[in-house]
Amino acid sequence: MNRMGFSDGLLLYGILGREQALSNEELVSKVKSALAGGCDIVQLREKNIDSATYYHRALLLREVTREAGKKLFINDRLDIAMAVEADGVHLGQEDLPLSQARKLWPKGLIGITVRDATMARKAELAGADYVGAGPVFAPFSKQLADKPMGYEGLQEIRNHVRIPVFAIGGFDATNIEGLKTTGIQGVATIAALFAQDDPQKNAVELKKLLS
């Protein structure tokens, strides 16, 4: 157990935004579907969106995830995460500094994206509750800016921190089983869950491969 409240076992962490679900109806139905299939955590991740719309979509997912008893994270925006009473916020390198976010939101969970063990250790010391480590493989959902770290890089990160590590980037049914021996907390994915039509079916398959 840790501050995230999770016990052992690999978790499925689904990430989506307008690229995966343009309308609000689609957003709600895709997340409901993924949760029904066993998705454990949801992150709303919107880029280039006005704040009012981001807030509104976050509020919709707060209802859906609360009903399902699952955790909701908001990407980038601490204020929106706080305002909708999400469980946490996921911060990238251009966002509000972790130390500041930690101070402003003691009860909120904070996840940080990291590329290597040094960054992961730094995030842990600054009070992060988990790290998203990646890209492990070349992601399907976005242009590749960073070199994939592979299982070796992931293992290295895992060995340097005590907080949960979520692997991100380029996972699908063909390579996800390898994660079982890495000792990480779970896998975060956009494409493997939401790129195709049936998030519930995708979630069921991925969870089966992870168990």
């Binding site: 006005d50 704040s51 204020d79 305002a83 509000l96």
Partner: protein
């Protein structure tokens, strides 16, 4: 309405692209003239950079009684413990932002017509402390956009339950007139950002506003 003292009569709105390479130096020169409030409005900066800039600007504004108001980014305003947040169109709704702020922090909204107010919910209205109304006169930053004019400003300020800060084309010739038409404060952006002599620009403007201060 709040019991705190509304910052008046002169507000500054920043734009580092207009200010040139020595942005912080310029802000320091401006703040030495003790404007009542400064809105840090740097829309294109990612949160981390805006936060770092806001920390620097706050070090300057706390030297005087200038209230530091952060445009749009509530999280940065919270992180630097700014004196307020200013919201534009598309920003988080006032009631949502209010729930994150302390009572003594100012919360304002940019408006252009009375319709912008009609669109607000009851909760949003209650959450607001002031309005920023513009543009009053013709201005370079809203090229081709006819000003609202002083009559419209009068109508607006008489109907508004909130103090109105007027912006857009205001200078030392029309500043006092703007206050006389009901604005609680005036705000300037480009003239403060582009001037080579911030102290003189601010002093001239403040002096011109003094002619109104008796009845105010």
């Amino acid at each position: 309405m709040q019991q705190k003292n509304f910052p008046k009569p002169l507000w500054i709105v920043t734009n580092r692209h207009l200010a040139g390479p020595f942005f912080l130096e310029k802000i320091a020169e401006i703040v030495q003239e003790k404007p009542s409030a400064l809105i840090l409005r740097e829309k294109d900066l990612p949160p981390q950079e805006l936060y770092e800039l806001a920390v620097q600007v706050k070090k300057i504004t706390e030297q005087s009684d200038t209230a530091l108001i952060i445009n749009s980014s509530v999280e940065v305003a919270l992180a630097v413990q700014a004196d307020g947040v200013h919201l534009g169109q598309g920003a988080l709704k006032p009631a949502v932002v209010r729930s994150l702020l302390k009572t003594q922090q100012w919360l304002g909204l940019s408006v252009h017509t009375w319709e912008d107010i009609d669109n607000l919910s009851e909760q949003d209205r209650e959450a607001l402390d002031y309005l920023l109304l513009g543009n009053i006169f013709l201005t370079d930053c809203k090229a081709g956009k006819k000003g609202l004019g002083l009559e419209e400003l009068s109508r607006f300020t008489s109907a508004s339950p909130w103090p109105v800060v007027a912006i857009g084309g205001i200078d030392s010739y029309n500043g006092a007139l703007t206050l006389r038409h009901g604005a609680k404060a005036i705000a300037i952006m480009s003239s403060a950002m582009t001037t080579q002599m911030p102290a003189k620009t601010l002093r001239d403007l403040k002096k011109s506003l003094l002619s109104f201060s008796d009845s105010y």
